[in-house]
């Protein structure tokens, strides 16, 4: 029985990571109405920025390097918008999609150029997890779950209790109308990028602390995050958490029955099913 509980716990863990990524994805989609396929590279660069700060010549300790790494990730996110997406604000969906894909390749290859394709770790000592009820969980993994919950609560209050959040939601509903009533849409868009990038950075760092760093780490998880977004309803924060955990659980419990060779297929199957059964998920949003 223990292996079942452990699988459920691992599912929740994977789900929290997916949810952290899905929230950023859903935020940009909500405000700018396009799927940012280079979000995965923000995740990856978040992890690599921390690596850069902790390695020689800087050699900062983890606590001192965390905030600068997140700051760099945010700068990269805002820079992405300024350099690529802002000039394309009025372009059609296909153009934006291709631009995002191109950017994704560029950023991934840039990481490969600087750090190579090999996997790296932050070099912390490997520890056995804490054990209870036949399950095991590491300190990192507790941090992942807590961070995911804290981020969601924070975002929930930001969106529903603050003026900035409300202006972002207004822009998301109708950009033109928001402008007409005097909402600073530029500020709302900038905020969306800052928050989405910071979330990506947090998620990437947690993922890399739990596993390791490699240039492809963002891409693999982005598809899962996208599936989670669809499952939870685009623009719905709690939905992102719910969708993420559901996919994480489906994957981890699914491989106990079907061949693990099809692990990724589970997330894709859920995604395709959602699109077939509820095509409105991509359009309808903000039901919370």
């Amino acid at each position: 029985m223990a292996f079942l509980f452990q699988s459920i716990l691992n599912g929740i863990l994977a789900g929290c990571i997916y949810a952290l990524f899905a929230m950023g994805l859903t935020l940009i989609y909500g405000v700018l109405n396009f799927v940012n396929f280079s979000h995965g590279e923000l995740i990856m660069w978040g992890a690599y920025f921390l690596y850069f700060l902790m390695e020689k010549p800087l050699g900062l300790p983890l606590y001192a390097a965390l905030l600068p790494a997140l700051l760099l990730t945010t700068l990269l996110g805002v820079g992405m918008d300024r350099a690529v997406f802002k000039p394309l604000r009025k372009a059609n969906a296909l153009t934006l999609l291709i631009a995002a894909l191109g950017l994704s390749f560029f950023l991934r290859n840039a990481a490969q150029f600087f750090y190579g394709a090999e996997i790296r770790t932050y070099g912390f000592e490997i520890r056995r997890g804490m054990r209870f009820w036949g399950m095991s969980i590491t300190v990192n993994q507790v941090a992942i779950i807590l961070t995911a919950v804290v981020c969601i609560v924070f975002l929930y209050f930001l969106f529903h209790r603050s003026a900035l959040g409300k202006s972002m939601r207004a822009v998301s509903d109708d950009l033109e109308l928001a402008r007409v009533v005097g909402i600073d849409s530029k500020r709302a868009i900038l905020s969306a990028w800052v928050i989405a990038s910071a979330l990506a950075g947090v998620g990437g760092i947690l993922l890399a602390l739990d596993t390791n760093l490699q240039p492809g780490m963002g891409l693999i998880n982005l598809v899962k995050a996208f599936a989670a977004t669809l499952l939870g309803g685009v623009g719905n924060l709690w939905g992102a958490l719910f969708g993420g955990i559901l996919i994480g659980m489906a994957e981890n419990l699914g491989v106990l029955i079907i061949s693990p060779g099809y692990k990724d297929a589970i997330a894709f199957a859920i995604m395709v099913l959602m699109l077939l059964l509820r095509p409105s998920v991509l359009l309808g949003r903000g039901r919370d």
């Binding site: 994977a14 390791n212 693999i220 981890n252 491989v255 106990l256």
Partner: protein, 371 residues
């Protein structure tokens, strides 16, 4: 005027490069498309040292029927594209009937069709990919195929008394081929494979696969893995408190695995193609290397390259200095030939067999084990 000068220079250069092949009929020339620059130049440089040594020894002993051997080196720059260029140059310009191919299975396989189409014999001394020689009957290797590791892993399990094991493998051609070889041999030996768990490359999370593999607490789990995937897996298994004996192939036998997964890989065992270094022949090889180069750091795969030169010389001696003659003579001279790396008899895929040793990670180091 400038154009004309250029043209003259180009023609002159062409004439110069052609000259040796036109006049040098007093030696047997063998091509070598080696990585002398680029990412795996360390291979090419090492190979060259050993090959030069082997050629010296053959020539000192009178060459082949009185004629000396000469190696024509061509830099393949470590990329598949330049490997093709290098092999093509050796075939068309230097007109060698036989050549030593590039290191790195993908590099070798990129150039193999060129040699095959030109009907020129090409050999590999370190290519391990199962399909390495698939290009055709002119392509040989003196290094054992990876698939044989599956057999080695099976024999190891039987020796250690594991009757029922699950097997995990990388979900690609390499992993699948290896897994099939393992399952086939293990069943033949009376063992039972309880579960087969394929997994994708380049994942950060293998916890689900690990839980499935260790369901029911098996005594041992066979894991046919690479370094990267192995490091992630063994680390996560350690964190989850999974206790089992991991049995691997040779692809995971690397210091990098220990660097990445530290104490999580302690106690892992595996098999690898083993070259007995205590034989008289190997000791003589090591001694003459030391005499020539002043150190005992024999380059990786150097021993296989050494055997390759001697086999090729024997084939030229028997079949004559033509690609057709060498192709036909190679299996004949190799049959029962014991080089310093063991039996070099070619199988139906123009590859060789291997003897297997056991490695274990002990105290953060890879050591030979007696199991």
């Amino acid at each position: 005027m400038k154009k004309l000068t250029c043209l003259v220079l180009v023609l002159l250069a062409a004439a110069l490069s052609l000259a040796p092949s036109a006049f040098a009929q007093d030696t047997y020339r063998i091509g070598a498309a080696f990585a002398l620059s680029g990412s795996i130049a360390v291979y090419g440089e090492g190979f060259k040292k050993v090959i030069d040594m082997a050629v010296e020894e053959i020539n000192a002993a009178g060459g082949i029927k009185g004629k000396k051997i000469e190696i024509v080196y061509e830099d393949n720059k470590s990329t598949p594209k330049d490997c093709v260029t290098a092999v093509r140059k050796l075939i068309t310009v230097d007109k060698v009937p036989v050549l030593f191919g590039p290191a790195g299975s993908s590099n070798f396989m990129a150039a193999a069709p060129v040699a095959q189409e030109s009907k020129v014999v090409m050999l590999s001394a370190q290519g391990a990919a199962p399909n390495l020689t698939k290009a055709g009957e002119y392509i040989f290797r003196v290094f054992p195929s990876d698939v044989l590791q599956g057999k080695g892993a099976s024999e190891l399990c039987v020796r250690l008394g594991y009757k029922e094991v699950p097997v995990m493998y990388v979900n690609n051609d390499w992993g699948l081929g290896l897994k099939n070889a393992f399952v086939e041999n293990f069943k033949k030996a009376g063992g039972k494979v309880t579960d087969e768990i394929p997994y994708d490359e380049n994942k950060a999370d293998y916890r689900a696969e690990l839980i499935r593999a260790t369901k029911g607490n098996p005594m041992a789990v066979v894991n046919l893995t690479y370094i990267k995937e192995g490091a992630v897996m063994f680390k996560q298994a350690y964190e989850m408190g999974i206790k089992t004996q991991w049995v691997c192939g040779s692809a995971a036998r690397a210091p990098k695995l220990i660097e990445l997964a530290e104490k999580a890989v302690e106690g892992i065992i595996g098999t690898y193609p083993y070259v007995a270094q205590d034989t008289k022949e190997y000791k003589a090889f090591a001694a003459s290397y030391k005499k020539k180069y002043g150190d005992d750091k024999i380059p990786i795969f150097g021993d296989y390259n050494y055997d390759m030169v001697f086999l090729t010389a024997k084939a030229i001696e028997k079949g004559g200095y033509s690609s057709e003659g060498i192709r036909k003579a190679l299996p004949e001279v190799a049959k029962g030939y014991r080089g310093i790396t063991g039996d070099k008899t070619f199988d139906s895929d123009r590859g060789v067999g291997a003897e297997y040793g056991v490695w274990r990670i002990k105290g953060g180091k890879i050591v030979d084990s007696k199991e």
